[in-house]
């Protein structure tokens, strides 16, 4: 009775070892980050400089913010394809609030973030109540957001030239030296997400739903309500990303956004979160986002054409997911 034997053997395994194994993917991702980083540092002398490292961090902000929220969704076993164009729509809304309506900057930011939450809420309702598969529901939302961004902006960028304060959210140096605020925002968002995922009921239910949605429901948890909440939370991060990207560009560019969702999902997956749900970590996602930026930046510095950068990123995703599968088989 081979299955029972292995179960019995594994049962004898001390629990800390189990804990270590579950951290392995994170360690693996972190080790890969170091290796890639070291490789570029040796290969090109301009890579490991203060300016370049901050620029890598700076370029991680948008993908990272999107990836943080998406981590929750993916841990539940869902997916969110609307984050890229949703972000653009939120950026446009920030432009509407601040430039067109002349609202105070803080109110404009709040409005844009809450608008992201609204996008997530709609996704959540479609998925949890109407039972539309997450892939389809968020694909539809991706198109809706893309179209609405163009409609609302009349297909023209909205500039924040009269609101230098808004741009400072991204490019200002709150710390007093050359370190962009955007990175601070990403770090703060990461800490908040890590706390929510690991310390709160919402986080526990996120894992429970991803592990076994039906068992969670039969345990007396209102799964529908929590799923709506989780998609709404992810939506807030869509809004935040919209603010960050428009502040960085000093404008809302309504025709952009597509493609970001795939990069963000790639970051989550590289970070060890399973698309099957039930497993994942915020720190892993941050590392995943960093790996993508380091690759993009390093390959660019080495003058490798954009086309090849995509090829390499694709291979990295395959390797990361395959490594994860191997690990699971061994566990």
């Amino acid at each position: 009775m081979s299955t029972l034997n292995t179960a019995a053997e594994t049962a004898a395994m001390p629990s800390w070892l189990g804990g270590l194994k579950s951290r392995l993917q994170q360690l693996l991702a972190f080790a890969s980050l170091i290796v890639i980083f070291a490789f570029f540092s040796i290969a090109n002398s301009t890579f490991f400089t203060y300016g370049n490292v901050t620029s890598i961090l700076f370029s991680t902000v948008v993908i990272g913010t999107l990836a943080l929220g998406t981590t929750f969704v993916i841990i539940t076993g869902g997916i969110d394809l609307s984050i890229g164009t949703g972000m653009t729509l939120c950026a446009v809304m920030a432009g509407v609030f601040i430039t067109n309506w002349d609202l105070p900057i803080w109110l404009g930011i709040l409005g844009a973030v809450l608008f992201g939450g609204l996008i997530g809420l709609v996704n959540g309702v479609n998925i949890a109540l109407l039972k539309i598969p997450p892939f389809i529901a968020t694909l539809a939302m991706m198109l809706v957001a893309q179209g609405l961004a163009l409609v609302i902006s009349h297909s023209a960028p909205i500039y924040f030239s009269d609101h230098p304060g808004y741009v400072k959210i991204s490019t200002g140096n709150l710390l007093g030296f050359d370190f962009p605020n955007a990175v601070l925002v990403l770090l703060a968002a990461t800490v908040i997400c890590a706390i929510v995922l690991n310390r709160t009921i919402l986080g526990r239910y996120t894992f429970s739903i991803g592990s076994n949605e039906e068992a969670t429901a039969l345990s007396g948890i209102n799964v529908r309500r929590w799923k709506i909440l989780i998609y709404t939370l992810a939506g807030l991060f869509i809004g935040l990303a919209g603010v960050m990207i428009s502040a960085r560009l000093a404008s809302a560019q309504p025709a952009t956004g597509q493609g970001y969702e795939l990069q963000a999902i790639a970051a989550v997956v590289i970070g060890g979160t399973s698309l099957a749900g039930g497993k994942g970590s915020i720190v892993g996602t941050l590392i995943g986002a960093l790996i993508i930026s380091v690759l993009n930046n390093g390959l660019q510095i080495m003058s490798i054409p954009q086309e090849w950068q995509n090829v390499i990123l694709g291979v990295v995703i395959l390797v990361a997911v395959y490594a994860d599968m191997i690990r699971k088989k061994e566990a």
């Binding site: 009775m1 081979s2 299955t3 029972l4 179960a7 019995a8 594994t10 049962a11 004898a12 395994m13 001390p14 629990s15 189990g18 804990g19 310390r199 709160t200 009921i201 919402l202 986080g203 526990r204 239910y205 894992f207 429970s208 592990s211 076994n212 039906e214 068992a215 969670t216 429901a217 039969l218 345990s219 007396g220 948890i221 209102n222 529908r224 039930g278 497993k279």
Partner: protein
């Protein structure tokens, strides 16, 4: 010509931990319908899977017309003349009747499929069998009965010698059953035979020539249908010796009613299910597979939508729209499928035990107090003696019995008053079973009200203060523990007394009024439907 069409001799098949078949014997004569009956888990499906080549026997021989028979797989079985119609149809709903019948061997002209030849051949076959089918109809649009005819046509298109049917009438109405039986009678010929597996005792009389009874993977006896009574068949089916003399504990008539279920119906199966659950009582739910016991449980906790019925808790009607509502009313359901529906297998013991009461007991302002969860989980591990290295152990590494205890612990932490156990000892070894029994008795003694759904009759009889028997989505009787015998429960579980007056009378299941004062030894509730 040999004496038998199909012979199964001394066949054994062992799975890890269970002997599914032990020295099994089945002899099918030429031109007969042999009924194969047995309780849940008697070994019928294993036998079918051996005959269709899905499994290979550990030992024993099969012979077809006296020739040794070795079946390599389902396709091979068909080619050798053995066709099996499973309960779950193997049809493509989007294809037509003709396409389904000839799937994998479509007539062609050159490289292209020839629809004309296909439909013509199919129409000829359908005509020969005298089936009311349109070969161009989409199978998905047909009724279940007609879909079954397609299956049969498909089977017979292979020139079957032996036709094996698993519970063919489970989803059919009486008229459709008649049509099926006519078809079977037409198929019977001096060089063919039918093995007819069914739980419906009344049908055996109508269609079978002989009845083979199997029990716990062993051959019991073969009876001539005309010379036997249903009573005899049933007592052979259940006639296993009860190994334990354990009896239900603390049976008392004076318990207050806690939960009342009235007229519960669902679109799919349940019809007017009513029963009462009393405080501190273990109420057994017996019945055959598909009788609707799990569906009752799921309906009560709001996991499935009901079409009619009320649920009252302590006399007050409660609205249960989902399991969260049920949990709020302290009603917990422990699924028969622990792995798929009861546990978060990849998570640890503590996360599983705390799951149901996280929001209510272990959190402040949305933050989880993991220390408190662990402490409580550790306490439960001790109380229920769950064998695990620690509460951080991943649940999938625990044994079945300990996994079951984790699920129980989850609902005890939630402080449920009503616990609905669905097959509480399925997949659990003997020693651990006793522990679960002791635990159930203890919980009842503490005042918890327990519904215990079980397919193992001895388990039902040794644990239940009262037994609710279900058949085909309905309650066919409620027995006090002193009235509940294996035979009586099985009668109620296999019969449809309202539709089979003669059989019902034979078994004394018809209310006294209807049988002109004939002595009636069963509970009055039985006929009261």
């Amino acid at each position: 010509m040999s004496d038998y069409l199909l012979e199964v001799e001394g066949v054994s098949k062992e799975f890890p931990g269970v002997k599914a078949l032990d020295d099994m014997r089945v002899n099918l004569r030429h031109g007969e319908v042999l009924a194969l009956v047995g309780e849940n888990g008697a070994g019928k499906s294993t036998l079918m899977k051996l005959l269709s080549g899905v499994y290979t026997a550990d030992s024993g021989t099969f012979r077809l017309n006296g020739e040794p028979l070795e079946v390599l797989g389902p396709k091979d079985a068909q080619e050798k003349g053995i066709s099996i119609i499973f309960q779950e149809f193997n049809l493509m709903p989007h294809l037509t009747v003709a396409q389904n019948i000839f799937i994998g061997r479509e007539p062609r002209s050159g490289v292209f499929l020839s629809d004309r030849a296909l439909n013509k051949e199919a129409a000829e076959l359908i005509d020969r069998l005298g089936l009311p089918l349109d070969v161009r109809a989409r199978v998905g649009d047909l009724t279940v009965a007609k879909q079954q005819m397609v299956e049969i046509a498909k089977a017979l298109s292979h020139d079957a010698k032996v036709l094996i049917m698993d519970e063919p009438t489970a989803a059919l109405n009486d008229a459709e059953v008649q049509t099926l039986h006519d078809l079977i009678r037409r198929f019977k010929s001096p060089d063919t035979g039918v093995i007819y597996i069914s739980h419906r005792m009344d049908e055996l009389k109508a269609i079978s020539d002989r009845i083979t009874v199997i029990r716990d993977g062993r051959y019991v006896d073969t009876l001539d249908t005309r010379e036997t009574t249903l009573r005899e068949v049933i007592s052979l089916m259940v006639g296993r010796a009860i190994t334990s003399d354990a009896k239900p504990e603390n049976v008392r008539p004076d318990r207050a009613v806690l939960l009342e279920v009235e007229g519960l119906s669902t679109k799919e199966l349940l019809k007017d299910v009513s029963f009462e659950l009393r405080e501190g009582e273990i109420l057994g739910f017996a019945g055959l597979m598909g009788a609707g016991r799990t569906e009752v449980a799921r309906a009560i906790v709001g996991a499935d939508r009901i079409s009619a019925g009320t649920i009252r808790l302590r006399g007050r009607e409660i609205a249960v729209h989902n399991p969260a509502d049920a949990a709020r009313h302290r009603i917990g359901y422990l699924s028969e499928d622990r792995k798929a529906l009861g546990l978060l297998l990849e998570q640890d013991v503590s996360a599983n035990i705390g799951l149901s009461s996280l929001a209510e007991r272990f959190s402040r302002f949305g933050f989880v107090d993991f220390g408190a969860v662990r402490e409580r989980a550790q306490a439960m591990v001790k109380t229920l003696s769950i064998k695990t290295p620690s509460v951080s152990q991943t649940v999938k590494f625990l044994s079945g019995g300990n996994q079951q205890k984790v699920v129980i612990a989850k609902w005890l932490v939630k402080d449920c008053d009503v616990l609905i156990f669905d097959e509480p000892t399925r997949g659990i070894d003997v020693g651990a079973k006793e522990e679960i029994y002791a635990l159930l008795n203890e919980l009842a003694e503490q005042g918890k009200s327990i519904v215990m759904i079980s397919s193992e009759l001895p388990e039902v009889l040794r644990m239940s203060h009262r037994v609710v028997v279900m058949t085909e989505g309905r309650v066919s009787g409620v027995l006090e523990h002193h009235e509940a015998t294996q035979e009586r429960v099985m009668h109620l579980a296999t019969l449809r007394p309202d539709e089979n007056v003669a059989d019902a009378t034979e078994l004394g299941l018809v209310p006294a009024a209807a049988t002109s004062g004939q002595p009636n030894d069963t509970d009055p509730e039985v006929g009261d439907r």
